[in-house]
């Protein structure tokens, strides 16, 4: 009796992996974006028979590095920001992608196609204000610095990234020249000097969810903010407005950590999510631009108006310079930390 029970258990143990449904772990940044991904990608894809387990993280590349170095990779598809996609690819943290299994490269935005990461969506860091509270809307980035014209605090992300670009634009540099100026010693001095002007009026934010709260609560009158967060707040009945010119747009990428357990299944998932239809569903759920250019035709004007990739919004925007920031980021962030203590 006992023996047959043991045999039964062994048999069950052997059979389990075969019975178990295939599953992949997809890592995202949480929040409204994760919900949109769930609706557009995870849930429809699960109907094809592969279970998608969503995991949230904060972009800590240390976690991926530790997994890859100890060869215990439990994540299959990970959303990363553009500098991390580039750097991790150079340092061998991610698998090289086989685009024949993902889709037609020509359909994707040029920036979306990289060796290790495929761009999933376009997002933008923009200036925003509360339409219910602010009487005079800003018309240039110089207004962000002009505390006489628009009195009140300004919300800015704690760190050098984006703020340096905005400071130069406020100082009169054209979006196209921003990185050229920033790369010089004088340009860097100039941007920190400009930031110093605004320093007493800045309220720093750490998490993307904070600036919409600041604006709604009236803590700040103007704030830099990720455009999707404004969209999410407006879906909850707020009247927050975006000032698009000078916005800094960038892509988030999906990568497969080196040695991930389900590489083929992951590629199939990415292939599904990169299709125009799935990307259109995503853009309807959160105002981030699709990277499959064919998705734009499937969206109506109301949705397009809020996307960073729509023609009107992208006209005077600045593309985030990944190469510049992977090179100069550490030194500039340290300079920012020094500047903050002064």
């Amino acid at each position: 009796m006992k023996k047959s029970l043991v045999a039964c258990m062994i048999a069950a143990g052997l059979a389990l992996p075969a019975l178990a449904q295939q599953q992949i772990t997809v890592v995202n940044f949480g929040g409204a974006n994760a919900n949109a991904q769930k609706k557009a990608y995870y849930e429809p894809y699960e109907k094809t028979g592969t279970k998608v387990i969503p995991v949230e993280y904060n972009g800590e590349q240390a976690k991926i590095k530790a997994m890859v170095e100890t060869k215990k990779v439990t994540w299959d598809v990970v959303e990363v920001e553009s500098p991390d996609a580039l750097r991790g690819c150079d340092e061998g943290l991610f698998e090289k992608l086989d685009y024949s299994k993902i889709g037609n490269k020509a359909d994707f935005l040029p920036a979306a196609v990289t060796d290790c990461g495929v761009g999933v969506f376009v997002w933008s860091t923009v200036m925003a204000y509360n339409g219910d509270k602010l009487k005079t809307a800003p018309t240039t980035w110089a207004d962000f610095w002009d505390t006489k014209k628009i009195p009140g605090k300004r919300g800015m992300r704690k760190g050098a990234r984006y703020n340096l670009e905005f400071a130069l634009m406020a100082d009169g540099v054209k979006p196209a020249d921003v990185y050229k100026v920033l790369a010089t010693k004088d340009g860097a001095d100039r941007t920190f000097k400009k930031l110093t002007e605004l320093k007493p009026h800045i309220q720093w934010w750490e998490a993307g969810a904070q600036p919409p709260q600041f604006l709604v609560a009236g803590d700040v009158v103007l704030s830099t903010v990720y455009n999707g967060r404004i969209d999410a707040a407006n879906r909850e009945g707020r009247n927050l407005k975006i000032f698009w010119p000078g916005g800094i747009y960038d892509l988030d990428y999906w990568v497969i950590p080196k040695g991930a357990p389900n590489k083929e299944a992951s590629l199939k998932f990415i292939q599904y999510a990169m299709q125009a239809d799935a990307q259109a569903v995503y853009a309807r759920n959160i105002a981030y631009g699709p990277t499959n250019t064919k998705a734009l035709a499937k969206l109506d004007k109301k949705v397009l108006d809020d996307l960073p990739t729509s023609q009107a919004n992208a006209k005077e925007a600045l593309q985030f310079n990944v190469g510049f920031w992977t090179d100069q980021g550490e030194a500039l962030e340290k300079r920012f930390a020094t500047w903050a203590t002064q």
Binding site: G92, T326, D327, T341
Partner: protein, 417 residues
């Protein structure tokens, strides 16, 4: 009968034998006691000492350049470090890069050099992607300058030459705002990169302020608790402990709700007519200190309470009956007896505060961040673990020095409550 016989026997035995038997029994008991502590010792070894040693090691380890560029380092040996090196160094560099087993090694090298001089990443990866580059050393030099003219600049080569050794003091130097110049002499960082000494001072300053406020708030409360009957004291103690058991994030979120511009505190103050404009209580030093004091208060109350419970109230009464004023009796008789509690509580709060990360990150501005924020930054964002470990070492040493000072000044055995 038998016992008596044995007793007689041993009484007859020579005394040195008895002593030996006793010593054996004593040693056995000692070993058994030691064996009981082994699990704890192993645990401490694995969770405390090993990580600390690994941390110290990472702070001085520098394998990237030595591993990836052995020929280049040799070729740069006699270089004057002023102008661009001889073409031989260029040839050695391309040979080294070509011999790397994996592109990940080139990435690691690029990352290491980029922490030394911003821009080196794209420089190294650019030439790595252009491989193979063949020809005479002069041709190779020409080709590399074509790929990126920055190869003609000395600072990038200096970064390679300086890091040829497997061990480096650079991370530790950088953690106190020092660096080595091209010739290897230690000098101060340029003014716009001198961040960490100020940040360390700020870390100590915030911790000290938090400790003082904790003491001021906890002392009267602990005293009151110690004078109450046990039943009431227990109920109140639970009130002290409940927030202690609540997640830090929840408590921080609660403070945001309370302290924001249109929050409860500001509206209350304005309603009472105490202030005209709402006070800025959040996303600055004030918010950080308020929240940290709240989170760390139990660590001050508990040691104080346990010490105060053991102070007999009769001493105070005796002092007063001998003619002291109540206030003088309190400060000259009661307070000195609570010094061990004050010392333990203050040290505990101060050391815990030194490592705070989440609270300043969420409630503070750009100039309210403590050292651990930058440790986390170098670990997670920059992936510069050498720098993260060096900053960790700095914090560890600073804490140990402070503890040593406390021991010397306090001249008392530490009792952590």
């Amino acid at each position: 009968m038998r016992t008596a016989a044995i007793a007689l026997e041993s009484a007859d035995a020579p005394p040195h034998q008895l002593r030996r038997a006793l010593a054996r029994a004593g040693a056995r008991r000692k070993w058994r006691a030691f064996a009981l502590t082994v699990p704890l010792l192993v645990f401490l070894l694995l969770t405390l000492l090993v990580p600390i040693v690994a941390l110290l090691q990472r702070a001085v380890e520098n394998p990237e350049v030595a591993n990836a560029l052995p020929r280049t380092v040799r070729a740069l040996d006699g270089w004057n470090r002023q102008q661009a090196p001889a073409p031989g160094a260029y040839a050695a560099l391309t040979a080294d890069l070509g011999a790397l087993p994996d592109s990940a090694d080139a990435g690691a090298l690029a990352r290491r050099l980029n922490t030394e001089i911003a821009g080196a990443r794209s420089l190294v990866m650019g030439v790595y992607r252009a491989l193979p580059i063949a020809g005479t050393p002069d041709e190779i030099k020409g080709r590399m300058l074509e790929i990126d003219p920055r190869w003609g600049e000395a600072p990038y080569w200096q970064a390679i030459a300086k890091n040829g050794s497997r061990w480096t003091q650079d991370y530790l130097l950088a953690s106190v705002d020092l660096r080595r110049d091209a010739a290897g002499q230690v000098e101060r960082m340029p003014p716009d990169q001198r961040a960490f000494t100020r940040i360390l001072l700020r870390t100590f300053q915030i911790s000290a302020v938090v400790t003082v406020f904790c003491l001021l708030l906890a002392y009267p409360l602990a005293w009151w608790l110690s004078t109450l009957p046990a039943r009431q004291a227990n109920i109140l103690m639970i009130l002290v402990l409940v927030p202690f058991w609540t997640s830090i994030l929840v408590r921080i979120a609660a403070w945001i709700v309370l302290l924001q511009t249109e929050g409860l505190v500001n509206r209350g103050l304005m309603g009472l007519g105490l202030v005209e404009q709402p006070l800025a209580l959040l996303f600055n030093r004030t918010g950080v200190v308020i929240s940290m004091v709240h989170i760390l208060l139990p660590f001050m109350i508990l040691p104080l309470y346990s010490v105060m419970k053991s102070v007999p109230p009769s001493y105070l009464r005796a002092a007063v009956s001998l003619g002291s004023t109540p206030l003088a009796a309190f400060f000259r008789v009661y307070v000195p007896q609570t010094y061990p509690g004050i010392g333990a509580g203050a040290l505990l709060v101060f050391i815990l505060a030194l490592g705070y990360y989440v609270t300043p990150a969420l409630l503070g501005g750009a100039d309210d961040q403590m050292l651990s924020y930058y440790i986390a930054r170098y670990t997670n964002v920059e992936i510069n673990w050498g720098m993260a470990c060096a900053l960790g070492t700095l914090l560890l040493i600073a804490t140990l020095v402070l503890y040593g000072l406390y021991r010397r000044i306090g001249r008392a055995e530490l009792s952590l409550g």
